[in-house]
């Protein structure tokens, strides 16, 4: 039985982080059959996090972030060709060039794309960018190097904040417009978002919260020249970066019968995709940003993550399960972990901060700009975020994994635990934000709004 699974034809759709790591892991797991990786970008897999950091700072070139292979997965790479459909009965992946690729098992790692500015004519103005791909980053870095008068960033999520940070470091004037009350509030809740707002302003960012950008204006010859805001004000700028969050690349699966929607493709803890009736498939697997999976530590909520580390870990679990029979399969239980560097600070998160009702500062302080914030839900620790205290993160990881009581007891004697009282975590309804959440709870919680899926057509 296991012998069969190590042979045959495996096709991976999406040639980025999750696709590459799964391809490598399949070979490590002893898969000897044929392996095809289909990717619509013309490049071999490359890393995205540097695109909003090193690349925008001008430290490295946009086309230099190619991912290293841990081992050569001996795959056929079909790059620059989009998958247009999946025929689960005929077991074929349909491609844009008219060909189709037969499979025995398929892994979907099509990730996300940047949410575009909703008005196409305005989005097409010269100087208006989104940031997801190597080309986006290359174009934007070039504009920043040319020294624009001002950069307007729409959306104060992680990507928008990192872009603003890079601009300030390059000495460029930058305005951040965010519909919510503060930057990063959707991911980190009220208290830390206040720190994020102070940090931005201290670094000279013109931060406008509680406003939306209504119109992007051109100068008459197709170049972006400024924007109008909902409070009646105007921002004159030469460059605009639309950082409104991500859209899952699932449209190509519309006729596949899979449970694929705006929050991703639903799969079980073993990375097997569900079909639209909630029946699990056994030959279609999902990993990375495009997946939506249940996690026992968070009430079996279906999580949609946009995290580098999740793409890596889930890809490895998917690969393992693709070549092993039922009883030997593993669940994907890794704790969500995320990092961001901005304004000289290293922000790291473990667990699910939005799955919380209260927070407490367990170490350090907001004033010191160095702290560990612990998040709790109904009396148990569910997440922690550190600012310039990465070495403490493992301790909190352990508290989350063991469902330790919240607020956490004073830690070991070597830790300077701040005597603080828990305050509400203030996680807002994502509908009130410009930036999409990078962690989304997409199941049922009585006190949280759900995504309402509108059937098409």
């Amino acid at each position: 039985m296991a012998g069969d699974l190590r042979d045959g034809r495996i096709v991976i759709i999406g040639a980025s982080l999750a696709g590459l790591r799964a391809a490598e892991a399949l070979r490590e797991e002893g898969f000897t059959g044929s392996l095809t990786v289909v990717g619509d970008e013309p490049h071999p897999p490359y890393d995205r996090p540097p695109l909003s950091k090193q690349v925008l700072l001008g430290l490295v070139a946009a086309d230099s972030t190619g991912l290293p292979m841990r081992r050569d997965p001996d795959a056929e790479w079909r790059l620059g060709v989009r998958a247009t459909g999946l025929d689960p009965l005929g077991k074929r992946v349909l491609l844009a060039d008219g060909e189709s690729v037969p499979y025995d098992r398929v892994l979907i790692t099509t990730g996300t794309r940047a949410r575009p500015w909703p008005k196409a004519e305005e989005a097409a103005l010269d100087g208006v960018f989104t940031l997801r791909t190597r080309e986006d980053a290359g174009g934007l870095a070039e504009r920043l190097a040319a020294g624009p008068r001002r950069v307007l960033v729409i959306g104060g999520g992680f990507t928008g904040s990192e872009i603003a940070s890079a601009c300030r470091e390059r000495g460029l004037d930058v305005t951040v417009a965010e519909r919510g009350p503060a930057p990063l509030v959707g991911a980190l809740g009220g208290t830390l978002s206040k720190l994020a707002a102070v940090m931005q302003r201290n670094h000279g960012v013109d931060l406008r919260t509680g406003v939306t950008v209504t119109t992007l204006r051109g100068d008459g010859s197709g170049r972006f020249s400024g924007a109008e805001l909902s409070d009646g004000s105007r921002v004159e700028a030469d460059v605009c970066v639309v950082a409104l969050g991500a859209v899952r690349n699932v449209e190509w699966l519309a006729d596949s019968g899979l449970a694929a929607g705006p929050r991703g493709i639903a799969c079980d803890a073993g990375c097997r995709a569900f079909n639209m009736y909630g029946i699990v498939t056994d030959d279609i697997f999902v990993a990375g940003d495009v997946s939506r999976f249940p996690h026992p530590l968070f009430g079996y909520q279906m999580l949609s993550l946009e995290h580098w580390g999740n793409a890596v870990e889930q890809a490895e679990v998917a690969a393992h399960n693709m070549v092993n029979p039922g009883p030997l399969r593993r669940p994907h239980l890794a704790l969500p972990t995320f990092w961001s560097t901005q304004f000289g600070l290293n922000i790291k998160s473990v667990g699910v901060p939005t799955f919380s009702d209260h927070v407490v500062i367990a170490q350090g302080s907001l004033e010191a700009r160095r702290l560990a914030m612990v998040y709790g839900y109904q009396g148990r620790v569910t997440a922690a975020v550190t600012v310039d205290m990465a070495k403490s993160l493992d301790y909190y990881r352990h508290l989350i994994e063991t469902a330790a009581p919240f607020p956490p007891p004073p830690g070991a004697a070597d830790r300077a635990i701040a005597a603080d009282i828990p305050v509400p975590s203030d996680v807002p309804d994502p509908k009130g934000l410009s930036h999409g959440p990078t962690v989304a709870l997409t199941g049922y919680l009585p006190d949280r709004r759900l995504t309402v899926v509108q059937p098409r057509g």
């Binding site: 230099s64 991912l67 290293n346 310039d388």
Partner: protein, 69 residues
């Protein structure tokens, strides 16, 4: 040679910064920035850095090369 640092696991120990300062840099107290494309004359230093990293967060290898199939 290419490198990628698993920054979810990196703890900012900065051993890599000591060993290969042309490739790894601390940005602020503990944020690590690095050059993913390792210059040839830095390859040996980067190998040492990868070996020295206490949490084994530094991955090295070649980029996928597509043979045009």
């Amino acid at each position: 040679m290419r490198t990628v640092v698993d920054l979810t696991h990196c703890q900012g120990y900065a051993q890599c910064v000591f060993l290969a300062p042309k490739v790894f840099q601390l940005h602020g107290e503990e944020g690590l920035l690095y050059a993913p494309a390792v210059p040839d004359d830095q390859a040996e230093r980067v190998r040492q850095a990868a070996a020295a990293c206490p949490v084994q967060a530094i991955l090295l290898g070649e980029e996928v090369s597509v043979d045009g199939r």
